[in-house]
Chain length 412, copies 2
């Protein structure tokens, strides 16, 4: 949680943090500022002091909305800085950072870098700044990013925002189910009233409209993948594919608040009209594992404990898993879940080699999404819900929705 | 254009380029791959050779859609790499890059870095890789990025995609105008049938739905700012503000193709019901300058030539401009326009200190958007259209829409 940031900076020996990039669709910046229409900005926080948001003059009112201490970049007179560096933009930018950091009293110690932005420009800038300010040590954290550690547990207002996205998400899933079951079957395909097949692209367009009507963004698109594609976990589905009856459809939907806020993550597997025996058997294996794992969830355990359990359950059912063969592309091929927040995938991680810090404690918000994949047999099944560990340690599902496999479809 | 990439790499002495990050909403990656549902990937291109797209195993089919040569990251056995580096993820990632680059024969020369991704992680990775591969020189280009130079001119399919976004954009602007003029006035405010004021948030929600219905994303939101906010160029507008009659509304809309493709950029200034004399005078100054500048546009000239012209025209009308006072927040406070493409703002730049390379030549796609701002007087006016320099040097506006200031509104 954000109120632990100073303590975490202390533990990890950080003197300051710098977040760069736009105000939207940039998780670190959204976390620190609350979002807003900033084309590009810098947020600098010294340990134990309030963060300062540096903004361009045309965006002064947008920056003020953050409620943070703000500073107008025009105060640094870039034209003059550029003159002094003989027109070299890199030198002028580096010089401006040097002045900004010095003004904030940040002249020695470790400074961690964050933000989703242009990596080339920032590599050049911070490499050059490192040379100009040898007392500072600019670092990129790989394993235990302080900001990700803070974000790994959510406070109540964050949980409420994620829960609201869960309600929107399941509403839209319901509309997709209504849309599909309002259609008929002809020659094994789902068709419109005129007999023309419904295609995946049409379903995805409707999903975007229904999300948009509810104030949600869908920056990463939706997985709505059928048959072979359902057997490859991240295949997003071919827009021109028709919806064949009796084939698995993996429907994985992960929208966020408008402007790049909190995400939700949710998956169902559907089979239109009927489920062949092999599909039904696969679905029952996933559902039984999902049920056992979610019933076993306890606050305080490491997330990978449940990945281990999932592998064992699927193994006992006779499926290959990544535990025995990390390269397998059949059976259980991914990890059990992940944290959700301003990133669709964030800590805690559930992979077998994840850190001991990745555990389920009060404030954790995470997905449980076991799945089985057989691309060569043209099928895949995944079931996913998102959960929250409440302050009292109870595990709470954030949005309810039926787990049914078969969506009934009538003949034309 | 992309077919000039090898020549540009030669000129700028680049042995290779590396693009990192997701497959969507990541301009450099979208340019090289065409987009697609890749959570995270690496694209590496050696000069004179085809690009190779390195992807995660679950995303193999998504990667294949790019039509590029692909390589599965699972071939590098990360578990084994991690073991060899005693569980240090940074070392394992660096080691994997080292193997990948060596396999592609990239062992000496300059390597430029691109991609919108986590700057901390990438700063750490490429700083460490630099030490492991001293024959290579990893660089971030600040002023003359080879990829931005290639992207600065568009080929015909790119222009058609931008033009299509222009049609969608102006359709939605028309729907907003229809929506507003279907409402009535009461006590100086635009109201719904029940007499309750229409608020900016309601207009913006409808814009998102109408864009979504047409297959467009709106990742950066819309500027729909009234009164004082219209006087601050990048204020996006307060959702709870009602629509007052007789006040300037700056409506700047810049959606992109779904998944983070090509943008369009378009602005109108509206005044509901009537325009007070001071607003009309301001609008006429902007329109007259807009008209003179667009009529003077000629292929081959530098973009800043027209910025110069715009400053002179506004000065002659008696407005302060950034030419005389770079810090001014009244009058003409920004540059004339910018290139548009996979970034909403990209080269060519029109600022007074922009490069000689930033000129309007066949393939350039750019905005012209003069504006005048008086926040203390509660008003601002900006007019913007987007243009293309055709192969024969003709200048073509990409989407037509009336320039009218006043939207008529009836009393309730």
């Amino acid at each position: 949680m954000k109120n632990k940031l100073d303590a975490l900076m202390q533990t990890n020996d950080l003197e300051a943090i710098i977040v760069v990039g736009p105000g939207q669709h940039n998780p670190a910046m959204v976390y620190m500022t609350g979002g807003g229409h900033l084309t590009n900005a810098d947020l600098i926080k010294k340990r134990g002091e309030s963060a300062v948001l540096f903004h361009y003059p045309m965006e002064r009112d947008e920056a003020a909305k953050s409620g943070l201490k703000t500073k107008n970049l025009s105060d640094y007179n870039y034209t003059e800085l550029l003159k002094r560096s003989d027109g070299d933009n890199l030198k002028a930018i580096v010089n401006r950072y040097q002045i900004m950091l010095t003004e904030l009293g940040i002249t020695s110690g470790n400074v961690a870098l964050y933000g989703r932005s242009d990596i080339g420009l920032n590599f050049a800038v911070f490499s050059a700044l490192q040379k100009e300010m040898p007392g500072l040590n600019f670092i990129g954290e790989v394993d235990n990013s302080v900001l990700m550690l803070a974000r790994m547990t959510k406070d109540d207002p964050e949980v409420e925002r994620i829960r609201k996205m869960g309600i929107i998400t399941t509403q839209v899933v319901g509309l997709v189910a209504d849309f599909i079951t309002s259609k008929k079957e002809k020659n094994g395909l789902l068709v419109n009233r005129d007999g023309i097949p419904v295609r995946i692209g049409e379903v995805k367009n409707r999903i975007n409209i229904w999300l948009s009507e509810r104030g949600a963004d869908n920056p990463e698109g939706t997985i709505f993948a059928i048959g072979h594609d359902a057997g490859v976990p991240h295949s997003s589905g071919n827009p021109t594919d028709p919806l064949k009856l009796g084939q698995t459809i993996v429907f994985d939907i992960f929208p966020c608040e408008a402007g790049g806020g909190y995400f939700y993550d949710f998956t169902r597997t559907w089979c239109l009209g009927y489920a062949p025996d092999a599909v039904l058997a696969l679905y029952e294996d996933v559902l039984s594992t999902y049920t056992k794992v979610t019933q076993a969830l306890q606050a305080g355990r490491s997330f990978k404990y449940y990945q281990q359990m999932t592998c064992e359950l699927f193994s006992a059912q006779g499926h290959p898993t990544i535990k025995e063969d990390p390269q397998t592309q059949q059976g259980y091929v991914h990890s059990l879940g992940h944290g959700i927040g301003l990133n669709i995938h964030e800590r805690p991680w559930s992979g077998i080699s994840s850190d001991e810090k990745d555990c389920l404690i009060p404030g954790s918000v995470f997905t449980i999404e076991p799945g089985l994949y057989y691309p060569d047999r043209g099928m895949g099944v995944r079931l996913e819900n998102s959960f929250w560990v409440c302050p009292d340690g109870k595990i709470d599902m954030l949005a309810e929705y039926p787990m049914d496999l078969v969506l009934p479809v009538k003949k034309i």
